[in-house]
Amino acid sequence: MPTEIRLALVIGLVALAGALGAVWRLKTGRAKAIDRGEVIDLPRLQATKDGALVTKFGKRVTFLQFSSETCSTCKQTARLFRELEETADDVLHIEVDITNRLDLAKKFHILQTPTTLVLDHNGRVTSRIGGAPKQSAIEQQLGSFAI
């Protein structure tokens, strides 16, 4: 194959990868509103926070983050939510590792981690964020639960 064509193919490949990456970046971490979402069953979730079982939702909003052991962006996401929690005591962050909780992965149709469910004060799912949440998506969610 002539060098020019080979070069063109490789450049095309790089462009394709760049386009895929740009589309992924654009789509990941955005909140999708859920109509008539279900109410999260806390006893079934068996989530713990600082060693204690979580039994109550956040007074304003709860961010329920599903993580896995091979997920590098889950940690950054958890830190983001923890920082948020420190500034507002009516915001709760719950993190659940689904690596060995495939029942939960199946129930919530989770294919990627982190996946974050946004819950109102009754624990009803109102939005879903696939991938590491964008700062703007979190702010928008907080805004929608403003008191």
């Binding site: 080979r6 490949l13 989770i110």
Partner: protein, 147 residues
């Protein structure tokens, strides 16, 4: 088994791997240079095998990062678990290894396609911080391809 590492290390490694894979695709597209491409993909496959078995921190690229790049950077905000990048190396091993085997059977286009696929993953990892462990690990577990 897993350790906490600087998340920029695996991305540095991925940029080397992506560059090598782009060169490999270029070389594989001409019959005259196919043997070189085959050998290069062999080296890349071994590199993936190393990463999959011993983890990114003990990989030559990881050591290179620690010695040359890390001292010039600020401390990372978060550390990540090495399990994620190690899983990505395993995926890379399967794809590059498949291409290498196809090369043995003289299926040149098969090698080119495998190298191109591995390139896209490595490029996305290096440039966009795309993490295979976040995107496909739970999905593969759910369909029981991995345990």
């Amino acid at each position: 088994m897993s350790t906490q590492i600087d998340p920029r290390g695996p991305r540095f490694g991925a940029s080397i791997t992506a560059t090598l894979l782009a060169v490999d695709v270029f070389l594989s597209l001409d019959h005259a240079t196919f043997a070189i491409a085959h050998a290069l993909l062999g080296v890349i496959t071994v590199s993936f095998l190393w990463g999959a078995l011993r983890g990114p921190a003990k990989h030559p690229y990881g050591l290179l990062f620690k010695k040359l790049i890390r001292p010039r950077l600020e401390a990372p905000k978060d550390l990540e678990d090495s399990a994620g990048p190690q899983f990505a190396q395993l995926v890379g091993l399967l794809v590059a290894g498949t291409g290498f085997v196809l090369g043995i059977f003289g299926i040149e286009i098969g090698l080119s396609i495998a190298a191109a696929a591995a390139f896209i993953a490595a490029f996305l990892n290096a440039v966009f911080d795309y993490c295979l462990g976040c995107q496909i690990y739970i999905g593969l577990k759910r369909v029981k391809i991995i345990r």
